[in-house]
């Protein structure tokens, strides 16, 4: 059962300050409303994973790691590999995260990242079949939130795509009924470089890449994932509040502009700086 969340009280003063600044198109950390925080990407952070990336978006820290295995395919997609995205909001990262089974927030986060990767066709799952109906590759993308200062969605997608982008796949050979792992590896092919852009709304204003106090003060957020070809592959409004259709269309426009820029920065190491 989903229950109205109790956000930590940010002092009235801080709320007023955020709104006062925003009226002048300013933000608490000096950014302008459509500016992202600094992004730092560390590829291959977890050597035991087949692919991994530690992403810092300002003070938000997300570690994504890919584990590759083999599995029986789902009955309705016997020729496709399996992609599973799982997010752990470990209590290390924030006083509001609690140990225990995945919260709705963590489920929602991982499902959004999953959709962004899956619908953008960044991974060609049909290329991950070993024996149709019997054995396919499984890709577990585990997201670990280490420090929570807002905008988990954008940071998590950047971390996931970076981790997938360097994932090395163990080669398997089929010997009769048995499937054997070899010592060889091949590179997982990344077909797209989607980015998510998240906007937080305060009254009638909005900012991109909200930090935590902006997230807490906001009425709701909207996330939009844009593919390299400028098409959208996921949208999600999170939180209460209402948005007008006109505003949605404005955000689509904004996302095309901002997406290009973000993609270049976020995947510089993957693409050799060519976005």
């Amino acid at each position: 059962m989903s229950i109205t969340e109790q956000r930590p009280v940010i002092s009235k003063l801080e709320q007023q300050e955020l709104r006062r600044l925003l009226a002048e198109n300013k933000r608490i950390d000096g950014r302008n409303p459509l500016q992202y925080r600094n992004i730092r990407v560390q590829l291959g952070y977890v050597e035991k994973a087949e692919g991994s990336a530690l992403v810092e978006l300002g003070n938000t820290k997300v570690l994504a790691a890919v584990k590759v295995g083999i599995a029986v395919p789902f009955a309705d997609t016997p020729n496709e590999g399996i992609l599973i995205v799982n997010a752990e909001l470990v209590p290390l990262a924030s006083p509001v995260f609690e140990p225990g089974p995945p919260s709705e927030e963590s489920i929602s986060l991982s499902r959004y990242v999953d959709r962004s990767i899956r619908e953008s066709k960044s991974i060609d799952l049909s290329s991950l079949c070993i024996v149709p109906g019997r054995s396919v590759y499984s890709l577990y993308v585990d997201l670990y939130i280490l420090d929570y200062d807002g905008n988990l969605i954008d940071a998590s997608l950047i971390a996931s795509v970076n981790a997938l982008g360097i994932t090395k796949m163990p080669k398997y050979v089929v010997e009769g009924q048995a499937i054997k792992k070899t010592d060889e590896y091949f590179k997982l092919e990344l077909k797209d470089h989607p980015v998510s852009l998240t906007y937080a709304f305060l009254d009638d204003k909005y900012v991109v890449d909200p930090c935590l106090s902006e997230e807490y003060a906001s009425d709701f957020t909207v996330s939009m994932t844009v593919k390299s070809d400028d098409r959208f592959c996921a949208i999600q409004k999170n939180g209460g509040g209402m948005i007008s259709p006109r505003r949605v269309i404005e955000l689509l426009e904004r996302s095309l502009e901002l997406g290009k820029e973000l993609r270049t920065v976020a995947y510089r190491q993957l693409t050799g700086g060519n976005g």
Partner: protein, 242 residues
């Protein structure tokens, strides 16, 4: 997989005979349960969904209550027999996400400040699923809130729009949902010009999203009228009973 599935007939009609901007047959009834404070039932295509509302009532345990407004609890749940393959009654990750999305879509409508320290429970049970259950469930849940006499800023009606075989269409059925290119559930209130639920997955260009959004607005306006009619019927019955 989708190649061999035909979503459109040769004359451009959809698999169930509809045109692109045509809603499925919808039947709405308000006040269908005796224990709940408010309830509503919706059939949309082969969807069969009941929503019920309990509250406002004291929020227990106390630490979940808020001093300045009521809180909402919402559960979207599919009956084990609602889908083609039997579904485990334990809530899936999808059901947990949708419970949150639906709560978020209802919360801005409720005048929560009128009932501090209380809780309103909203239960949505999908008895039969046929594509677009979150939207149909939301359309019913709003009516259950109204039936419970809870002051609302307005209603929302919800409808999925999307894309299939390159065409933008409204109120996707199960087949179009599964084999189409994009699915975008929208909940909209025409008076307030406000969207309270917006999701999309699949692939659409900016122009396609805009076009789909416009279809959604027209569709939810039609559904809004049906909601009003269903409420009117409900209250005229009650008046007769009185």
């Amino acid at each position: 997989m989708g190649e061999s599935i035909t979503l459109f007939s040769e004359d451009g009609k959809r698999s169930d005979g509809r045109s692109l901007d045509e809603l499925r047959p919808i039947r709405i009834k308000v006040g269908v349960l005796s224990n709940a404070q408010g309830s509503a039932y919706i059939e949309q295509g082969r969807n069969k969904i009941i929503a019920a509302v309990y509250g406002p009532k004291e929020a227990l345990p106390k630490h979940i209550s808020l001093p300045d407004r009521c809180i909402l609890r919402c559960r979207y749940h599919m009956a084990p027999f609602s889908t083609t393959e039997r579904k485990s009654p334990a809530p899936s990750r999808r059901e947990i996400e949708l419970s949150m999305v639906l709560r978020n879509a209802l919360e801005p409508l409720v005048m929560t400040w009128l009932f501090p320290r209380t809780v309103i429970d909203i239960f949505i049970e999908v008895l039969q699923a046929d594509g677009g259950t979150r939207c149909a469930g939301l359309t019913a849940a709003v009516l259950a809130l109204a039936d419970a006499g809870i002051p609302l800023k307005g209603l929302v009606a919800a409808c999925a729009v999307g894309k299939a075989d390159g065409k933008i269409l409204v109120d996707l059925n199960d087949l179009e949902d599964k084999y189409g290119e994009a699915d975008m559930p929208v909940a909209y209130n025409p008076t307030l010009d406000g969207i309270t639920l917006l999701q999309m997955d699949g692939i659409m260009s900016k122009e396609e999203v805009e076009q789909a959004l416009s279809l959604a607005i027209t569709a939810t306006q039609k559904m809004h009228k049906m909601q009003v009619d269903a409420l009117r019927e409900r209250f005229s019955v009650q008046r007769r009973e009185v």
